[in-house]
């Protein structure tokens, strides 16, 4: 990583154990900056807001003046703080304008279903989901995650936020409803359409391509 800029590496905390306060910021930014920034960027989709959130997180750590046993404890603590900053941001924006989005994908891919007759609302066979060749190694592939990220970036902001909260962070429906002031019914509709859109996008951009390559 060549992003040190003008920072002097000799000022890192390891060499100044007696005074953790002053040298810690550099060490934190060096060790955790990228991870926290990406974490925030995925959820906020705005580099400036993400940078603010990361800075606020470090400020909180500075004020807390905590010390940790090892890097990973430090990292999880920082991620926990950052997560709360991001949720604060969601909460605030849900107060300004409603978080509910029932417009996105509202036709629910109706063009893929039989419009009338005996098999009305059944898949048009040629347009139905393909077989995905997923196995344990799929999740280790950088291309899969790139496609996943690109596809989830195509979701509208609020739909993506809801999807990330539910699927990436594993927050329960009821908590999300409380956080964002939306009804459970509307949350379910948004999640259903988000999953549907993401699935379709991934099939085209990842699994479809994989098939062509074979």
């Amino acid at each position: 990583m060549q992003t040190d800029g003008d920072l002097n590496p000799s000022q890192t905390a390891q060499e100044a154990p007696g005074k953790p306060g002053l040298s810690d910021p550099e060490r934190w930014v060096e060790l955790h900056g990228d991870y926290l920034f990406k974490y925030a960027l995925i959820r906020l989709r705005d580099p400036l807001k993400a940078e603010d959130a990361v800075q606020e997180t470090f400020l909180a750590a500075l004020k807390g003046g905590k010390s940790f046993q090892g890097r990973s404890a430090e990292k999880s603590w920082l991620v926990g703080v950052l997560k709360n900053k991001i949720y604060d941001h969601y909460r605030k924006s849900s107060r300004e304008t409603s978080f509910t989005d029932l417009e996105f994908n509202s036709d629910e891919e109706s063009d893929r279903f039989v419009p009338d007759g005996l098999f009305k609302d059944g898949w048009i066979h040629e347009l139905g989901p393909l077989e995905w060749n997923t196995d344990d190694s799929t999740l280790d592939r950088a291309e899969f995650w790139k496609a996943f990220h690109d596809c989830s970036n195509k979701l509208p902001k609020n739909v993506a936020a809801v999807f990330n909260l539910r699927e990436v962070d594993g927050v329960e429906s009821k908590e999300i409803c409380g956080l964002l002031s939306i009804s459970e019914g509307n949350l379910w509709v948004m999640l259903h359409r988000a999953r549907m859109a993401l699935r379709r996008c991934l099939e085209t951009n990842w699994f479809g391509k994989e098939k062509e390559a074979e």
Binding site: G5, L7, G33, Q55, F58, L59, L62, E108, G122, L130
Partner: protein
Amino acid sequence: MKIIAAIKERWVVWVWQHTPHCTEILRLASQSLEQPQSVRTRMKMRMHFLICVWCKRYDKQLKFLHQAAAHLDHQDIILPGHGLSAEARQRIVQNLKTADSKNL
């Protein structure tokens, strides 16, 4: 052979008429990730999957995405080149140091 084909066709139509249609099955597939579905609903979904490979795949893929998404943050490879810029790093360090010196 004709008889078997005819029986099969009647079976497919019978199941189709006694289970929710595909669009509804997709909604249920998503909803089952939110709350447990009744035995009756689960039975109907299973029945439907017997005659509809597309809904079966969809359900399986939704479950796969549900599990995959939870791994997103373990992927250090995600967003390559999207880390903090050198300028952003400096800004943050500078602001933190300023805040720190005020505290002293």
